[in-house]
């Protein structure tokens, strides 16, 4: 067991990490939570000058069109993008575990966007793939006889273009966790099913999917957590000079009301409300984690 010397060592080894946890996570989270219930104009305002406002920050936020739009955008991206990413990741995971040649190469290519800076990737998407007339997507539309320019980065398609570009970078990571889940399933299940005459779809729905339910759950949580920070850069790329309706996302709105920022008089500085935005983003993560664990906990399979 733990001797006295060991005890000293444990304390010594944990102190720096605990200091970071308190400074970077525990204290900020608590303070942001409290702040969301107070009227605070500037971020530098000391606690003594905060005035209690109850739920006013939250109520006030939902009276602002720009914020409401950012919530709708965010939830659309979360839901539609989430389904698309999980679906594509699952399809590619099944393909790569079905015995294709060059598996390592395909896996690397699909993961590749994940390691490229969002700003670099966004520059390529906006200035090449989505460019009007001679961009890749317009060329494809033109080739199949569609009307160009589609205006991929215009007000109508904007959110969907952002969604496509953001999801492109996320599929690889989610796919890898699916692959590791699928590879834990024993070969004998599939061999047995093959002998019984099952095709690839039977195998997927009756063997793979039930056995990787836990991975699906953790991928939903991963998707939700990463969206909160990940979408910030993309919203910025699509709308660099000020907040615009099709691309506004809650973290970007939050930055705007903390720092004022990009020369817009539309938004008033309000740090209390900014804290509420932070809480709402975190709330989605908490709700999704709890709900998905409640739904799938009972029938999880031990492997």
């Amino acid at each position: 067991m733990v001797g006295r010397k060991n005890k000293r060592m444990i304390v010594l080894f944990l102190i720096p990490a605990m200091f970071i946890y308190v400074m970077v996570f525990i204290y900020p989270v608590l303070r942001t939570f409290v702040m969301s219930f107070f009227a605070v104009e500037a971020i530098e305002t000391p606690i003594a000058a905060w005035t209690f406002a109850g739920l006013n920050n939250y109520i006030g936020l939902f009276r602002i069109d720009l914020f409401n739009r950012s919530v709708t955008n965010y939830l659309t991206l979360w839901f539609v993008g989430g389904i698309a990413v999980l679906f594509l990741a699952m399809v590619y995971a099944v393909i790569l575990t079905s015995g294709v040649r060059l598996k390592k190469f395909w896996r690397a290519v699909i993961y590749l966007p994940n390691i490229i800076s969002a700003i670099a990737l966004g520059t390529m998407w906006i200035n090449y793939a989505f460019r009007d007339n001679d961009g890749l997507f317009d060329r494809i539309v033109e080739a199949v006889g569609g009307q160009t320019p589609v205006m991929w980065t215009g007000p109508y398609m904007g959110l969907w273009s952002l969604l496509i570009a953001y999801c492109f970078g996320m599929v690889g990571y989610i796919m890898l966790t699916f692959i590791s889940g699928i590879e834990k399933i024993g070969d004998e299940y599939y061999e047995c099913a093959s002998i019984e005459g099952a095709n690839i779809f039977h195998k997927f729905f009756f063997i793979t999917l039930p056995l990787i339910r836990g991975v699906v759950r953790s991928n939903i949580v991963i998707w939700t957590v990463s969206l909160g920070t990940g979408v910030f850069a993309w919203s910025f790329m699509f709308s660099p000079t000020n907040l615009t309706l099709p691309y506004t996302m809650p973290p970007n709105y939050m930055r705007e009301i903390i720092f004022g920022g990009r020369g817009s008089a539309v938004v008033q500085r309000d740090s209390g409300a900014a804290a509420s935005v932070g809480i709402l983003i975190a709330l989605l993560v908490v709700v999704i984690s709890v709900v998905s664990s409640l739904i799938t906990r009972k029938d999880d399979v031990e492997m």
Partner: protein
């Protein structure tokens, strides 16, 4: 267990035929990715006028055959537009952060994975929860704290945050590496009169090296690409890391019409993580889910 076959199979036509839709989908993804990156590379080596001319990749090959690629784009991006400064900033931040992250995380992961004590479960729980906390929840209090300490817009604050953000994942990732080391190593060292702290640095730390190297690669990629925290805490052009620098440059160059230089800067920014990935892709890909996620 895994379906990796080291012996090359003979081509069975029937089997390959069945897999055709799979190959097709993989090929679509690969072609698109190569076009996206290849076009950007090509565009970074031709003139802005040619970028609007349409066939960028064709022009690129023409120029390549004539040994006439427009390297001036890179010169402009690197020198006149100050990308070199942002690049250097990021190199500095990463060089300082990466070792410090390990020096703080490895001992903590070791203590948590090999000793039973009262708050062990609590600290491990905190580690998992911290990984799920969105950055939007932590920036405001830290910003006001930095203001109170007159440390906003300093490199120290930025590096401190980079380190802080990376620690939960690093501890979490290293836990199984220490846990799976043979038991009894500590006792043997103690018998030889080695103190617990020395035992860790001399024996356990080197043995966990595979995990430490892998997690450092991940941390490098994360920090090199980090945008949110940097955007909030590095407003001053002097201390901007590369992602924020690129963002500002791209906006400026679009207005100025420096299209070639814009793509050149994009290439310079993604080159380090890209090359690292090409060289180490197998190691990276098998470790993403290795210690971290249990299926």
């Amino acid at each position: 267990m895994t379906r990796n076959k080291t012996i090359r199979e003979p081509v069975k036509l029937k089997k390959e035929l069945k897999l055709t839709p799979g190959y097709l989908l993989c090929a679509i993804w690969a072609i698109f990715t190569f076009l996206l990156i290849g076009w950007t590379l090509a565009a970074s080596l031709v003139t802005p006028r040619e970028i609007f001319g349409g066939d960028v990749i064709g022009t690129f090959f023409e120029r390549l055959l004539r040994f006439d690629l427009v390297f001036n784009n890179y010169r402009l991006a690197w020198g006149a537009q100050n990308l070199s400064r942002f690049f250097l900033n990021s190199v500095i931040y990463v060089t300082i952060s990466l070792p410090l992250i390990i020096i703080i995380s490895a001992p903590a992961a070791y203590a948590l994975s090999r000793f039973r004590f009262r708050f062990n479960a609590l600290v491990q729980g905190l580690t998992s929860i911290s990984m799920g906390i969105p950055a939007v929840m932590i920036i405001m209090p830290i910003f006001s704290l930095a203001t109170a300490l007159r440390m906003t817009g300093t490199r120290t604050t930025l590096v401190f945050l980079y380190i802080g953000m990376s620690i939960p994942f690093t501890i979490f990732y290293l836990l199984p590496f220490f846990k799976n080391l043979p038991s009894g190593l500590e006792e043997a060292a103690a018998v030889d009169g080695c103190s617990p702290v020395r035992t860790f640095w001399r024996i356990m730390f080197p043995l966990a090296q595979p995990g430490i190297i892998t997690v450092t690669i991940f941390n490098f990629i994360t920090l090199w690409n980090e945008f949110f925290i940097s955007m909030i805490f590095a407003n001053d052009a002097q201390i901007r890391p590369i992602a924020v620098g690129l963002f500002n440059m791209v906006q400026g160059m679009r207005y100025a019409g420096h299209w070639g230089a814009m793509f050149a800067s994009t290439v310079i920014v993604f080159a380090p993580t890209f090359v690292l990935f090409i060289v180490l892709s197998n190691k990276i890909l098998t470790s993403v889910t290795g210690g971290a996620i249990k299926g």
